[in-house]
Amino acid sequence: MKKLFIAIYILAGTILLASSCKKFTEITPKGSNILSRVTDLDLLLNFNYTSNSATGDTLFAKTTAQGAFSAYDVGNLVNDTYAYSTNIPSLISTKQQSLNYAYTVYDEAVDRKNLAVTDIKYEKLYFLINNVYNVVIKNADQAAGDRTIAKRLKAEALILRAYMHYLLVNFYAKAYNPTTAHTDGGIPYVREDNVTTQANLKVSVAEVYANILSDIDAGLQLGSLPAVPQNNMRVGQGFAFGIKALVLMTLRRYPEALAEANKSLAINSFISNDRLFAPVGAVPFGKPQSTAQENLFYMAQGGNPLISTPSLETTESVYEPGNIINSYVKPYYPSGNPFSGIPTSKLWLSSANPYAVNTAGLTTSDTYLIKAECLARSGDLMGSLDIINQIRQNRIHPSVYAPVTAANEAEAMALLMRTERIEFLYTMKNYLNLKRWTTDPVYKPTIIRTVNGVSYSLKPESSLWIFPFPQSATNYNTNLSQNY
């Protein structure tokens, strides 16, 4: 009897356990956020849009933007700077088949798609789109927690998704041209319904812009963005209106762009003042990463443009006389430039305080200059020049400063372009603006670089303006034909 009882007990226990097999193994792993709460999504949006000291293929390095927002290649292309930490005469004389060489001498014959094995810009921008914004957009509605915050997070994600695609289409496709945009190849526009196992489709430039605008509008319509975000690695209305203005200006819808720029400036109209810096003023030269007031959204390589070499054209002719940084602060290596091999070139070496250049985000300089361009193009030369002078006044030593004037739109545009080149030195903005103008019927730029007496020119029609999709993408996605 006892035997039977024990047997039944053991069997019953076993059966009871067995019936719960599936349930037993369904547990939520600790230490891994499964993104089911609004607060989890909030943490996701706290991404570090700068680079940390870690390098290589490590988790720690990958939790930042790494080198994605450095302006080395775009700066070299538009002759803001020379190729990073490279001996230029040697690069030119050995005709080394490299991307640096192609962008230095503007040689379209260099097989760039073969040299572009990987491209951190491409990887990181799509990483952010898929793993930050799309996750937030997909999960915000179901996530447990405060609905107001959920809506705000979704709006932030929509706006930022639009902006990252704006950068991508500008790097890898032809500049927007209203006559060909419907047939010009663009980039994949990746939404929250993306399926990893299916290769992404490339859509036309026009379609990319339509999607960008629709995302921005969707974000704004949620009506949940704060005017000013909690910190400058998050976005608010100031940024949303700013990039809407930027996109509309790119689409040459100047009056609409002007309206959006004004909305942004109504929220933040701060202009930083270089006259405060010693030796002109008393403030030590520097600009903090996290709190610089002119930032609408801070996205950068992080810190100083250390070891960057501005081109001779930049330091000798683009900088206006009396520019406080170039002529007074002089954050340069005192005994020449040991890297570039170009006599009289300067090497940025100041490291006393961080001077955080916002290489890829948005500042009030952007919104002011968008406004200035829209005004110039609509005939309000005075309005345009006021903005240009307002900026110049903060950049040039009082003893040298004099307001500029223009007799016509072209002159105003020329002044605007020069101001922008200095304002956006060491950032990606000069590349974006100059590329935008390559399809402009009137203001098409040609970049001239002279090294040791030899001049090289980058024509507006050049294919070099379009970066190749890296092989790490084209090898795994047959839809990605190059756009040049």
Partner: protein
């Protein structure tokens, strides 16, 4: 059914008649015998065999039995008749009784060849059912009838002996130990015990007798050369090659039936009774998703003999000190080498600097900046400055030559590593209760001063026979360990100061010097450290100590309930609780504290040192419910098991840091420290101006504080297997298992995918057509096929983010998605085909086994690259394949068989394993030559492949050159276009393993020698570095053979002024290309004597006088100099450098 129709079974199925479970109750008087037999048959379940003449229907008998044993009842029934019975299997044979003689009692003792009495030997009278067992003193008493009766002595571990009484009444016999491989081995798979005869799978079982031939502190090392297919090479154990890329490669360890999480190194080697290695799918598939790498099943000893036994063992291992001078210049040679470079550095012209004055200025600034400066460098500097004369310089260099840091370090810091291990086992075996208490203590001095490693292992286990059908086993095993070692990054290394540095002065006082982080000579007041940075290895070893504490406890309980005949239920439960904590105290005046305080100055507390602690904790439980059914029906025999297992593993822990800690005062001032300020402090200004501190912050401060994320895994497995045997000739086996695990979530298609196996075996030697071949003892053929699994921990089917991160710019916590969703995640799958044979010939003189296998692993979790627009550049998915092919041969031959006890015996054994490993598919994940050479994978090549740059030596000006894809030579980094120029230079895994063992016994002496051969593997070794300046530390030996314009015939790049990048016209070689060059891939083949053991067993008489049962002494030599190595550069392939130090073991074994 008529009783007479029952078939007579083969006589070899004879089983013991003692102890029938069936009791007979029957009261009949003078009735037909047949009716009594019918009743007994109904009550006992036994069939009768007799012929009608013997038991005629008219034969009458009487019986009066109440709960009588079957034998007693039968004796009663037959006592008045001239009949007798014999029980053969389940059949009772009734036959005419033989003529009766007067009964005589024969007594005697049974002992082994060692003189020790043997308990439990069956003593029977040939041709009768009478039998008895020897008691613990080996005594027996049995009744014989005829003077020519023959006694049969049968023991579990001894050869059967038949001896005629010849009229004697007192007979003492000595039994010879059975050859281990001949005896009928029961194989424990951890789930069941199954006769070796019934196995279809490829398994190898080692008994404690085999394991005790050699002492190894870690039982795993003792398997070397004994298990075909198991390779333990350079710290990695594999069974039948590597069948995965990212998942676990180690075999599953099963202890006393259940998998354990603790380390195999912690298993008490004296306590191991039997180790079974399950190699093919049919053997291992019952472990399902964890079986792809093979399974090692370890069973611990149980009390066997009745009564109490005590065994004491001790082994003391003494290691030689390691060879510190390997591949390094002697101190004197180093002075010469430095002088050569320094002549160039301080040359008036044509040197490193434009002028000598410039060299002096540069050196002065280097000194003032706190860079390392070797003593010779400083002497040259002083000479160049004019502070000392040429004669003084020469004198100093001559003095330097007298120093010998490594020798002094070896003499004063290193100790001969001594490992003492003591084991005391007390076992008692009562009627119903058996228990063992085993204490094991290990103590090592770690081979260096101020260090130790101790471990106490306590194991109590018991088993209780509650009733004839119910048994309970339980045990507690607790391991307490304490390790003390140096926490200093500098002090435990002799190779971080120049070779000619002195460690101890002539007067015995410590000599002070600096590490490579600073110099002795800086007098610049503005760049002085806060406290002195003088260093001495011996002093430092006492000031920066790390203590590790281990506490592992395992509890288990299981029950064996035979609820119906043949049906056994075994619920089992095991709980493990492992804790490891460390505490590292760097005293205030330890070097690292002085260094950190000099760097961070006021940011760190002025007083006290630091205490870094960490605790990691793991708790694991397994519950298993299993039913086993075993039944024999005539020629058919089945053995079924089915069960379910639940398992949870959980690991967690954290680490912390106290700053300003003072152990004496028990005070700290961590709260006064600002970590953001420490983090923000990136460049020093005063001390070591411009020095970047970011790595220091992470290493010593930030990384010391953290959480080891809690990881919990749950597994559920449901399994069944069945073995069917026909006529003991044919076995058919099948197993089936379904595993669920928490890592799989979404897709129903992949949840609980079944893993299964099947196998057949044929005991050929039982076939009648082979019975005429007397020399064949046993011959068996096996064939199996099955699928086992493996899983990569850390992959998940759901999208997850790491939330432990922090955005240092916005000062907010952040999350980053680290794991892409992969709803199609599934187990890695390994399908194994195995064909094998086991054989034993010539009365067991030659025996062995042979196996061929093909392991096809698919669905391996590997990196698949993606278009980054999917959000990831790559994803780990089930998309890789590996194939392993191999042959295994094991042979044992007895060269001399002892004619009498203590005679000369000599057995030799050989184990040969070969394995060929190849990746059948992998997405090419190495996009650059460097990535490929640094450990990339390629389809068609082994998993552990070495890929190399083709090094083409040095150009006429000493420039290292490598071949590009187009065949031209290049001095600069090869680009992705040159991937095809990268060559395969072999695998790091041995292709062939051979071991040869010889076991010789004579009188009380024994000698066991194990020699091993590993062949076919390659390694990178002695890779030259570019030595252009004066690195602070020892100089490598190869620079004596480096390139100079005068001696160009070498492939070692020049040093000093001739180094590439310094010598005019040359440039520094690209990163990694020298390291991964084919020229520095060396063959790893070698033959070594792994160990030679000389044993002596004290004669029985001597031992008895001492009042003990047995004493064994042992002297063992491990790892003498290799007999042969294929590489000609004297690299030990097992270390990649200096050879494994020889060690000596002194062992003692006492049985009370």
């Amino acid at each position: 059914m008529r009783l007479t129709t029952v078939l007579l079974l083969a006589s070899l199925l004879q089983v013991s008649a003692a102890g029938y479970a069936q009791l007979i109750t029957l009261e009949r008087h003078n009735v037909p015998l047949e009716s009594i037999l019918r009743e007994i048959r109904a009550q006992s379940g036994y069939d009768f065999y007799y012929n009608g003449k013997t038991v005629s229907p008219e034969l009458k008998a009487s019986i009066s039995a109440r709960n009588a044993e079957l034998g007693t009842a039968l004796e009663q029934a037959l006592k008045t008749l001239d009949l007798e019975f014999a029980i053969e299997g389940k059949t009772i044979v009734i036959r005419k009784a033989k003529a009766r003689y007067p009964v005589v009692a024969v007594t005697g003792t049974v002992s082994g060849s060692d003189g020790k009495p043997i308990a439990g030997v069956t003593v029977s009278v040939k041709g009768t059912t009478r039998k008895t067992f020897t008691d613990k003193a080996g005594r027996f008493s049995i009744s014989a009838e005829r003077p020519d009766d023959v006694l049969i002595f049968t023991g579990v571990a001894t050869e059967t002996l038949e001896i005629g009484i010849s009229g004697r009444t007192d007979i003492s016999v000595v039994l010879v130990q059975k050859n281990n491989l001949l005896k009928e081995v029961t194989i424990s798979t951890g789930f069941q015990n199954i006769g070796r005869e019934k196995m279809t799978g490829a398994t190898v079982t080692l008994s404690s007798a085999e394991l005790e031939k050699r002492y190894t502190p870690n039982i795993l090392n003792n398997l070397e050369g004994k298990i075909p297919g198991l390779v333990n090479f350079r710290g990695t154990t594999t069974i039948r090659g590597t069948s995965t890329i990212n998942a676990s490669k180690s075999p599953l360890i099963v202890l006393d039936g259940l998998p354990i999480e603790g380390s195999i190194a912690d298993i008490n080697p004296y306590e191991v009774d039997q180790i079974t290695v399950l190699k093919d799918a049919a053997a291992a598939a019952i472990y399902g998703a964890r079986a792809a790498n093979g399974v090692i099943v370890i069973n611990t000893k149980k009390a066997t003999a009745k009564g109490t036994s005590v065994a004491f063992s001790s082994d003391i291992t003494v290691n030689d000190k390691p060879d510190l001078d390997y591949n390094l210049l002697t101190p004197s040679q180093q002075v010469d080498a430095e002088s050569q470079v320094l002549d160039y550095v301080f040359a008036e012209s044509g040197g490193l600097y434009p002028t000598r004055a410039a060299a002096v200025t540069a050196t002065a600034s280097s000194i003032s900046n706190g860079n390392s400066i070797s003593p010779a460098y400083y002497a040259y500097y002083q000479f160049a400055k004019g502070d000392i004369s040429q004669a003084q310089l020469s004198q100093r260099l001559a003095d330097f030559r007298l120093g010998n840091f490594r020798q002094e370090y070896k003499d004063n810091v290193l100790r001969n590593e001594v490992l003492q291990q003591y084991n005391l086992a007390v076992r008692s075996n009562g009627e119903k209760f058996q228990s063992s208490l085993v204490l094991n203590y290990k103590n090592s001095n770690s081979g260096i001063i101020n260090a130790s490693n101790r471990q106490l292992n306590i194991f109590y286990k018991g088993s209780y026979d509650v009733s004839s059908w119910l048994g309970v086993n339980f045990g507690i095993n607790s391991i307490l360990g304490r390790q003390k070692s140096s926490n200093s990054a500098f002090a435990a290394n002799a190779n971080n100061v120049p070779s000619y540095q002195q460690l101890i002065g002539t007067d015995g006082s410590p000599v002070y010097y600096t590490t490579a982080e600073y110099n002795l000579y800086n007098t610049n007041t503005s760049s002085q450290p806060v406290t002195s940075l003088l260093f001495n290895h011996i002093e430092e070893l006492g000031k920066d100590i790390k203590i590790g504490n281990q506490q592992n406890t395992r509890y288990y309980v299981n029950m064996e309930a035979t609820v119906l005949p043949g049906l056994k239920l075994t619920p089992q439960f095991q709980y493990e609780d492992n804790t490891f904590s460390t505490s590292a105290y760097s005293e205030a005046d330890s070097y690292v504290m002085r260094y950190l305080k000099s760097i961070y100055t006021t940011l760190l507390p002025a007083n006290g040192g630091k205490l870094a602690t960490s605790t990691s904790h793991g708790d694991y439980w397994t519950a298993r419910g299993q039913a086993e059914y075993k039944r024999d029906f005539a020629k058919h025999s089945i053995d079924l098991i089915a069960g379910t297992e639940f398992r949870q593993t959980r690991n967690r822990g954290n680490s912390g840091l106290l700053l300003g800690y003072d152990d004496q005062l028990q005070s700290h001032s961590t709260a006064s420290v600002s970590f953001p300020a420490l983090n923000a402090f990136r460049n020093t200004t005063a001390f070591k101006p411009g020095f970047n501190t970011s790595t220091l912050y992470g290493r010593y401060l930030a990384n010391a504080i953290g959480v080891f994320p809690e990881t919990t895994h749950r597994f559920n497995s449901n399994y069944a297997n069945a073995t069917y045997t026909y006529d003991r000739r044919f076995n058919v086996f099948g197993s089936y298992r379904v595993d669920y695990a928490d890592v799989f979530g979404l897709d129903e298609r992949f949840r609980g995918k079944p893993l299964w196996s099947t196998g057949v075996s044929w005991n050929l030697s039982r076939e009648s057509f082979l019975s005429s071949y007397q020399w064949i003892d046993m011959l068996k053929l096996r064939a199996t096929y099955g699928i086992t699994g493996n899983i990569v921990q850390g992959v998940s089917s759901i999208l997850t983010a790491n939330s432990t991160l922090f955005n240092p710019v916005s000062n907010l916590p952040m999350s980053v998605i680290t794991n892409a969703a992969n709803p199609e995640l599934r187990w890695e799958k390994t399908a194994t085909v195995n064909l094998g044979t086991d054989f034993s010939f010539l009365s067991g003189r030659l025996n062995g086994s042979f196996d061929w296998y093909r392991k096809t692993s698919t669905d391996l979790l590997v990196t698949q690259r993606l278009d980054p627009s999917e959000g990831y550049t790559s994803q780990i998915i089930n998309n890789g394949g590996v194939l392993n092919n191999g042959l295994e041969l094991m042979l044992q031959y007895t060269i001399f068989k002892p004619a009498k006890t203590n005679g000369l015996s000599w057995a030799t054994g050989m184990v040969i394993s070969s394995n060929k490993n190849r990746i059948t598919y992998i997405d090419e994940v190495a996009p650059t030559p460097l990535a490929l050479t640094q450990g990339g994978y390629r389809t068609g090549f082994p998993v552990n492949s070495l890929f190399s740059y083709q090094y083409k030596g040095l150009s006429p000006i000493g420039q290292p050159l490598w071949q590009k894809a187009d065949g031209t030579l290049s001095s600069i980094a090869l680009t992705p276009n040159d991937l095809s120029a990268i060559v395969y230079s072999g695998s790091t895994d041995p292709r062939v393993n051979v071991s040869l063992s010889n076991d010789i016994h004579y009188k009380g002496f024994s000698l066991y020698i194990l020699a091993v051969y590993y062949g076919g593997q390659k390694l990178r070794a002695l890779i030259p570095d570019i030595v252009s300046g004066i690195p602070y530390g020892p100089f490598p030996a190869y620079i004596a053979n480096s390139w100079t314009p005068a001696s160009p015939g070498t492939i070692i790049p020049g040093t000093g002024k001739y180094s590439p990048g310094t010598y005019p016209g040359t440039q520094a070689p690209p990163n990694g290309q020298l390291t991964y060059s084919d020229a520095f891939v060396r063959p790893g083949d070698f033959i070594k004597i792994r160990s030679a053991t000389l044993g002596y067993r004290l004669p029985g008489r001597t031992v008895s006088k001492l009042g003990v049962k047995g004493i064994d002494l042992r002297l063992q030599l491990n790892n003498p100099k290799a007999i042969w190595m294929k590489n000609n550069v004297n690299v030990d392939p097992e270390t990649g450098g200096a050879r494994i130090p020889t060690s000596y073991v002194f062992g003692l074994n006492v049985n009370l």
